[in-house]
Amino acid sequence: MKILVPVKRVIDANIRVRVKSDNSGVETANVKMAMNPFCEIAVEEALRIKEAGDAEEVILFSAGGEKTPETIRTGLAMGADRGVHVQTDERLEPLTIAKMIAAVAEKEGADLVILGKQSIDGDNNQTGQMLAAIMKRPLGSYISEIKKNAEGFAITREIDAGLEKLQIGSPAVVTTDLRLNEPRYASLPNIMKAKKKPIETLSPADVGVEIKARTEVLKVAEPPAREAGVRVSGAGELVDKLKNEAKVIS
């Protein structure tokens, strides 16, 4: 089995993002970037499946500008085998990315594509679902467990009401939730080894995808600020304020 894991370069989750003063987007110059945390979980799961002997190869994919290979390199240092980079500086929407991933998954003959359920920049939560639709493959979204079996994969999904267990066929597309695993840190020897692992560079045309804007961002603004309120020092004072000032309890 071959596993394809698409990964995304995003602003590090620990950085407080700032909206640009011209409202065109958020500040990304000189900001620490990292692999999207959900993508790290996806890479980790692929590696565990390979280590369990159920997969031969873990291939990473990412689309983006010239720094994108750094993020692929992060996943190679975790233990993935090789990378595919579709180079473009254009704004990429989930549908466009899903089409690129579909083309690569097809070409590589990937039996399983594992994606993060959302990236923490756009918070779209769309690409995996779109990929499954494009490839007409069964979808397991928001998974907290996956086991390979004779019919494909037994998965557990985290849904609003609790947990849902499904049996899905193979080849399949799954997206990771937070509790699927805890990603490993890359060891120094593996970071060194990763430098020699191959990353293939392709253009959008090479994967047969035309980049066409389907939405336009008109403005990016600060959210309404919430002012800090007052200190209370006891239950009596708090209940009084909730009843008589905020009027949220009676």
């Binding site: 407080r16 993002v17 958020v26 989930p94 549908l95 359920k117 959302q118 923490i120 918070d123 779209n124 939560n125 769309q126 679902q129 779109m130 499954a132 639709a133 007409k136 493959r137 069964p138 979808l139 979204s141 928001y142 907290s144 985290e158 849904i159 609003d160 009401a161 609790g162 947990l163 849902e164 267990k165 499904l166 049996q167 899905i168 066929g169 937070l178 509790r179 389907r214 939405t215 336009e216 961002v217 008109l218 403005k219 990016v220 603004a221 600060e222 959210p223 800090a228 309120g229 007052v230 209370v232 020092s233 239950a235 009596g236 708090l238 209940v239 909730l242 905020a246 949220v248 309890i249």
Partner: protein
């Protein structure tokens, strides 16, 4: 081109989920902003599942809705994203609708992008405001920024942040029509649900939410918060740290990657206030924080900050409420 709008109903096979009504309200705002082209269209609801009679009746009461399209089929007893998306794409395929909307729940977030891709359209996620019929505001970067985004295509497929829209009234009387089932591109096999049953109100629509974090130390201590929630008629939520540690199940998680809540009263107990947590609760009307760390970031967004050990504060609060 039609100006009709399709809302996808969310339900569990027994009951209509309330988020559907907030989504109808968002559809109403879009309808009110449709210009020219024959004026505002109708709002219809698409309902997919098995044995839908009672749920269809609930849908028919949603104010502003004129028609319920019911795809009732035994094979959709536990519909997968593929199943629902195929019905949406069939309904939208002929140009009968300008928009399709579903709540931004784990249900809507799975089916809308799937349907959009079947139709070769880009979906727009988690809208919190309708600016124009084709332009929406939505949070990005865990709510650290608000993006105004315009769709350049039709139909427009959306998921809706339900806490940002008041639910539609339930005094309507829509017609109920059966629709033929479309064949999904692929199917998955449902095995089982592990759902925790609770008598408390549902987290995303509760008027009061009492949430606990890592400071609770263990699952047993959550009993304190349950007692408090019951006294206040509220639901119990949690931070990711509390869920990851196994204190409470996954469906309690509030935040960027959990549930979004906006109750009248949000009580954060032993929660530090990480940006990812705030993303799920900072639109609450009144926030109370109990934390023994003077510097906890949660105090920067709380209306009432009580710096105290939670094991002292929570029982004291319970006692005061029971007076």
């Amino acid at each position: 081109m039609s100006a009709n709008i399709l809302v996808i109903a969310e339900h569990d096979g027994a009951e209509l989920y309330p988020g559907t009504l907030n989504t109808v309200a968002a559809a109403g705002e879009i309808a009110a902003r449709h210009d020219g082209g024959g004026g505002a269209g109708e709002i219809h609801i698409l309902l997919v599942g098995e044995n839908l009679g009672e749920i269809a009746k609930s849908c028919a009461k949603a104010a502003g809705v004129t028609k319920i399209l019911v795809v009732d089929d035994a094979k959709f007893a536990h519909p997968g994203a593929e199943d629902v998306a195929a019905q949406i794409s069939a309904a939208l395929g002929g140009g009968a609708y300008s928009h399709a909307l579903a709540p931004a729940s784990t249900f809507g977030k799975a089916v809308i992008p799937y349907a959009a891709a079947l139709l070769d359209r880009q979906a727009i996620s988690d809208i919190s405001e309708v600016s124009e019929a084709d332009t929406f505001v939505r949070p990005i970067y865990a709510g650290n920024a608000m993006e105004t985004v315009k769709s350049l295509e039709s139909p427009v497929l959306l998921t809706v942040r339900t806490t940002a829209f008041e639910p539609a009234a339930q005094d309507g009387n829509a017609a109920v029509e059966n629709a033929a089932a479309a064949e999904p591109p692929v199917r998955v096999k449902f095995i089982e649900h592990a759902l925790s049953s609770s008598e408390r109100p549902e987290l995303t629509s509760a008027r009061v939410v009492v949430s606990g974090g890592r400071g609770m130390q263990n699952g047993e201590n959550f009993a304190m918060l349950e007692k408090l929630a019951d006294k206040l008629g509220g639901a119990v939520g949690a931070s990711r740290a509390a869920v990851d540690a196994g204190f409470v199940p996954n469906e309690y998680q509030v935040g960027q990657t959990g549930k979004v809540v906006a109750p009248d009263l949000y009580l954060a107990v032993g929660i530090s206030g990480a940006i990812q947590h705030l993303a799920g609760m900072k639109d609450s009307k009144c926030i109370v924080a109990i934390n023994n760390d003077e510097e906890a970031p949660i105090f920067q967004v709380a209306d009432y900050s009580w710096c105290e050990d939670l094991f002292t504060a929570v029982p004291a609060l319970q006692g005061e409420l029971e007076k």
